[in-house]
């Protein structure tokens, strides 16, 4: 009974993605046909064309998200440690929440002027910085809860056992923080990957990430390419979630 319910739930979750996959492989699909009238790999072949914009957008999105997630996770982790042990931690933490008072698109509108002045508007660099302004404080907030008296005591114990701060970090803190680092990386990757409003404003449409592509194809009423780009939008986070899930669960079992 429970197994049947699980399968039903899984089928309901996977159904929209299956439909998107079918649509991306369809040449025509008219109502009331249950399956497409004809099949084609033409839409998918656009992905592998050297001058194809779809493949470039996919690579660009992966590159931007990996960069933002990596930088935000490393800097957020280190900053959160500093904040957790600072006598002014509450003040710093309030500052970390500030970017989330406004929605990202309103926030982008507020700071766009400075990006134009610095010549960053319409450039990948501008989009990277814009997304980092959101992802970095988010990483700080996620990692902040990780630091506690127990971890601090372990750091001190390593020091009295003769280890340097670097050794304490490498041999104790990092292995203990693997789980939170993976979760933080994944969350920051998702923030960057699905970011639309801020990327549109700062990138002024010139930085064509996958999210922008989906909206572009929907606006053009090209349902087949919209389905393909939606499928591509879903795939990398799904793969990352799969690996993330495995590693995080393994961490939990070990600790």
């Amino acid at each position: 009974m429970q197994k049947g319910f699980t399968y039903l739930l899984a089928a309901l979750i996977l159904l929209p993605f299956s439909l998107l996959l079918l649509l991306s492989l369809a040449e025509g699909w008219s109502f009331p046909s249950i399956l497409p009238d004809a099949w084609t790999a033409e839409h998918w072949s656009r992905l592998f064309q050297l001058d194809g914009d779809l493949g470039q957008s996919l690579l660009l999105s992966i590159g931007i998200s990996l960069f933002v997630a990596t930088v935000a996770t490393i800097s957020g982790f280190l900053t959160s440690r500093f904040i957790a042990y600072s006598p002014f931690r509450e003040r710093y933490l309030i500052m970390a929440y500030c970017p989330f008072v406004l929605s990202p698109v309103v926030y982008a509108a507020c700071i766009h002027f400075f990006f134009i002045k610095m010549g960053l508007s319409g450039h990948i660099g501008g989009v990277l910085i814009g997304q980092l302004i959101i992802a970095y404080p988010f990483a700080v907030i996620i990692c902040h809860g990780h630091w506690n008296e127990r971890i601090r005591s372990m750091e001190q114990l390593v020091a009295t056992l003769g280890g340097s701060r670097r050794e304490a970090f490498q041999k104790v803190i990092l292995p203990l923080s693997k789980g939170i680092l993976l979760v933080c990386f994944f969350q920051c990757y998702l923030i960057s990957w699905f970011e639309y409003g801020l990327t549109t404003l700062i990138g002024v449409g010139k930085v064509q990430t996958m999210t922008l592509k989906v909206f572009q194809y929907i606006n053009e009423a090209d349902i087949y390419l919209a389905a393909l780009s939606s499928w591509l939008l879903f795939l990398p986070p799904a793969i990352l979630l799969w690996f993330n899930k495995r590693f995080v669960f393994r961490e939990v079992n070990v600790s």
Partner: protein, 239 residues
Amino acid sequence: MIHCERLNKRFGSEQVLEEVSFSLAERETLSVLGRSGSGKTTLLKILAGLESADEGEILLKGQRINEQSPQERGIVYLYQEALLFPHLNVFENLAFGLRLRRTPSPEVKRAVEEMLARLGLSEQASKMPYQLSGGQKQRVSFGRALIINPKVLLLDEPFGALDVETRSSMQAFLKEVSLEYQITAIFVTHDLKEALLMGDRIGYMRAGKLDIYDSKEAFVQDPRTEAQSEIEFWKRYQS
């Protein structure tokens, strides 16, 4: 071995240590009693180099160590909790200090196996910390400190989290290894019986001031330590 002269420490407006002076000879254990917040932990942390004193001097084997980092002092500070590294098994927890010193692997293996046998934990070498009992964790914690042969061992209520039975066996065990490894130690506790059992000498800390007694008898006779009232209680209880 270790000599402290007029140590003072303030946290804001609160005077945590006031003119603390004492000497500890080699292979001697000093028990320090005192209520919570009397400054015991701060004193140990200053000796270990984890906190700095506002005033005063600490001499270790005649050498001033105030400016030395915790890594350079050779003084190990053990907490109430065993604080075993959860990602390392028992063997690697014991080997931790030796690996920091880049000790060759065969020597690490020999020393750890010897320590495991001494701790009675040879069968548990490959176990992870979460698979050990409270007493076993504390044994590993002592072993991890002893294996690097520290100049001074600072124990901050190490048995505070253990049940009465385990606590009693751990007291006997620590007394035994202290003699065997000729440890110089400061043992902080707020258990009167434990202080008398573990220490060669006893000190009592009140509001940041440390009184060291010439003998255990002098400690028991001092009404401020409340040792007499505890003895009276047990006498009354027996009769």
